[in-house]
Assembly symmetry: C2
Homo-oligomer: 247 residues x 2
């Protein structure tokens, strides 16, 4: 970590230039909406410009239960986006109603089982983006940092489908690393009821954590905690360099 | 690689049970739509059930150019989904028109710069899902396997914004590994015009490759090539185990 710079430096630079170009009208709409919190920019004949989408504060406990149950339908990415978007379909309606949540299922297992971005973060990142636009990027950045440094999952579902003994801090937002360390600690295989339930509870907790930050944001009380990984390392990176690059 | 089993074994098992439950009506609609190729299931009062979305075959060369130019607006994930969805907004209209592509920007740098799933795969995976539903999962699985084993990018844009000398096979779909190996080979830093253009061309080529497979799928000529990573390794994983776990 050779230097700390302002978060999202690269993005801001390009977005500013883009906003000044003719093609930047959509982005300009986003910036206005973002500045207004949960405000909506409406432009006749351009439905896409209604972004980000309207938000009403959610009960994180409800979010967690929805996500937990939905893991057993379509796994982690679907579970974690649906924890937030499914209640918003009921409380807000359109444009959430038209979003097919099944489109996010492929993020399971870190992307069709390739062990990349934990699907709970992929799903919650998408939810944060639809709700908060560019601010959603700051929120999911904080959620990822929290995920990698926190003993998870501590969420207890109302109707648990399995039980297990261990929680762990992954030191990584990668599915393979996170679930692999937990499987070793718990002493179970990937295709086991315990592992499934660990991932279902993790989906619930990540979705609820994201809803908590979105609630703060809706109240104008959210402040970014975590900085830019790329600016810190001069490359896109996690914080666990030695795990792959030697001690 | 101790054993090879049928792809997506776990998913099929759960989906089948889910289809038999009362909550599985949406998934049942998906299965019908999937079986009919680009067919649409319409159910009164349930807009979400119109999934996957209608597709018309795209020109991969056009897809690549759209994605390349869009990288310089909102980076890799936005670029690669927009290469496919932006032309479909024009050729098909709704429901594509209402999808705010800016919501996918946060996938840049492997997820807000954390170096996880290459944003080109996140964006193309989302596009494949909206277009092809569960078949999109098989398609992006093949695209990920191709990405990790192919010397990229070989795409040459009509109006290049920078030039560079090297291409590389990453042996990994992770942003950090892929771009890191390329930076070392090219001898440039992350915040350089060469690296930016490498990622812009990669976005273009991944988006175009995905469109090629979607075109085959629309013609009923697509067959899955790559199997299930999780079933092969008994954990979600890439194929480059020794890179982190020793030689």
């Amino acid at each position: 970590m050779s230097r700390i710079v302002k978060p999202f430096e690269e993005e801001r630079g390009i977005t500013r230039r883009y906003l000044l170009s003719g093609a930047g009208k959509f982005a300009a709409g986003m910036a206005v909406a973002s500045a207004a919190g949960a405000g909506i920019v409406r432009v006749a004949g351009a439905k896409e410009q209604r972004f980000p989408w309207p938000y009403v504060k959610l009960d994180p406990a409800e979010v967690a239960e929805v996500a937990y149950e939905n893991w057993y339908r379509h796994f982690c990415a679907y579970a974690s986006i649906s924890g937030i978007i499914q209640p918003l379909k009921q409380k807000v309606g359109e444009p959430y109603t038209s979003l097919p949540l099944a489109a996010f299922e492929w993020g399971h297992g870190g992307g069709v089982g390739w062990g990349m971005t934990c699907g709970t973060l992929m799903g919650s990142g998408m939810a944060a983006a639809f709700v908060a636009g560019k601010d959603g990027e700051k929120i999911i950045n904080d959620v990822i940092a929290w995920y990698a440094s926190t003993e998870l999952p501590t969420f207890r579902p109302k109707n648990p489908k399995a039980s297990f003994k261990n929680i762990n801090a992954s030191n990584s937002p990668l599915c393979h690393v996170s679930v692999g360390k937990w499987m070793k600690k718990e002493g179970v295989k990937f295709f086991s009821p315990e592992r499934r339930d660990r991932c279902a509870r993790l989906s619930a907790q990540v979705s609820a954590k994201t809803a908590e930050l979105l609630n703060l944001w809706a109240d104008g009380k959210y402040t970014t905690v975590h900085g830019s990984q790329a600016s810190t390392y001069d490359i896109t990176a996690q914080n666990n360099c030695a795990e792959c690059h030697g001690g």
